[in-house]
């Protein structure tokens, strides 16, 4: 379980981004989490609820966009949705498939409250 260290790193990075963009309070963080990223979304949410209030304030919300595991067959170029982690092309049976999406853990964007405006 390394979701706590993931969330700690997330909070550090968004604090830095907020600081270099005027320092407004962080209202929203959008995170893309791939199915094959190695982190559990529910555990990320738990860790966020636990750690965020102290670090970036109670107003901050986390929105997770789940990304399914997708691949492309190197043999026939077919695009494939991988289920049950069977890395095999359903069209030509080739196992030469390359992951094209689903292993990401990416900060998409953050929303900052405009400085000088009260909530």
């Amino acid at each position: 379980m390394h979701e706590y260290s993931v969330v700690r790193s997330l909070l550090r990075q968004v604090q830095e981004i907020a600081r270099s963009n005027g320092g407004g309070a962080i209202e929203m963080i959008r995170l893309a989490v791939g199915e094959f990223s190695g982190v559990e979304c529910t555990l990320v949410e738990l860790a966020f609820r636990d750690l965020a209030p102290e670090k970036i304030g109670r107003q901050a919300k986390l929105e997770i966009q789940k990304i399914p595991l997708e691949a492309k067959c190197e043999n026939c170029q077919q695009k494939i949705i991988i289920t049950n982690y069977q890395f095999c092309c359903p069209r030509c049976n080739s196992q030469q498939v390359r992951i094209t999406a689903g292993d990401e853990l990416t900060i998409i964007d953050i929303e900052l409250r405009e400085v000088g405006v009260n909530a």
Binding site: M1, H2, S5, V6, S9, L10, Q13, I17, A18, N21, G22, G24, E27, M28, L31, F36, S37, G38, V39, Y85, Q86, F87, C88, Q95, Q96, E104, L105, T106, I107, I108, D109, I110, E111, L112, R113, E114, V117
Partner: protein, 219 residues
């Protein structure tokens, strides 16, 4: 009105860059880096002892040992090979900053093979690039042959699987070929070896495998 800042940044970008720099540096100096992962008790330390006994005179080896809190594994290895302990303070995996600082403490720039003995865990270490050239998953026959399908990311990101404790095969319901089949559905190019640190079966083949990988780095 809120202000939206577009970021589109990989959360682990800094760690990935550091891992790539470390790997390049090790390649440039001809050091093969091998990251050993497994469940707790699969026999990483024993296999490293046998490896050091077998090829430690001919090749310059060193081990970075990740451990949650104790230094027991490091102590077991010290008589065989230079060791640095990496204490994770309870974390379930190693990260590249810890590995790189452990490597600096070894103070040896002429290594042939640097082993990283990861924390016993088949989940979290799968998501952390330690700058290795080779990720090897150990699977002991007492764990069951259905492990690969349960830990797909670890097997997908490994280049080799070593089935350990093969001396126990007559006593446990472990089918080597079905474990390999299961793993290769996830990672078709996976190499596999079978070893026993008790009888030393397969240890020669394992060492030959390592030396072949080393030749690719030192070409």
């Amino acid at each position: 009105m809120n202000q939206t800042i577009t970021v589109n940044r990989d959360l682990k970008a800094d760690l990935k860059e550091q891992a790539n720099r470390f790997r390049q540096r090790m390649s440039d100096q001809g050091t093969l880096v091998v990251n050993l992962v497994s469940s707790p008790g699969a026999g990483k330390t024993s296999l490293l002892q046998r490896t050091a006994t077998k090829i430690g005179d001919e090749y310059r080896l060193a081990v970075l040992v990740g451990d949650l809190a104790t230094d027991r594994d490091a102590e077991r290895l010290k008589p065989y090979v230079p060791v640095q302990q990496l204490t994770t303070g309870g974390a379930c995996h190693l990260e590249i900053p810890l590995v790189e600082s452990g490597y600096e403490r070894l103070n040896q720039s002429d290594l042939d093979i640097l082993f990283i003995e990861n924390v016993g865990n088949l989940v979290c270490p799968a998501s952390h690039d330690l700058g290795e050239h080779l990720r090897v998953t150990l699977l002991s026959v007492t764990e069951g042959d259905d492990k690969p399908g349960k830990y797909p990311k670890m097997f997908r990101t490994s280049q080799a699987m070593v089935i350990t404790k093969s001396d126990l095969l007559p006593y446990v319901p472990f089918d080597v070929s079905s474990a390999v089949e299961d793993a290769r559905r996830i990672q078709p190019e996976l190499d596999f070896l079978t070893t026993s640190s008790q009888t030393l079966a397969g240890v020669d083949e394992w060492c030959e495998f390592l030396v072949r990988q080393l030749r690719k780095i030192q070409k």
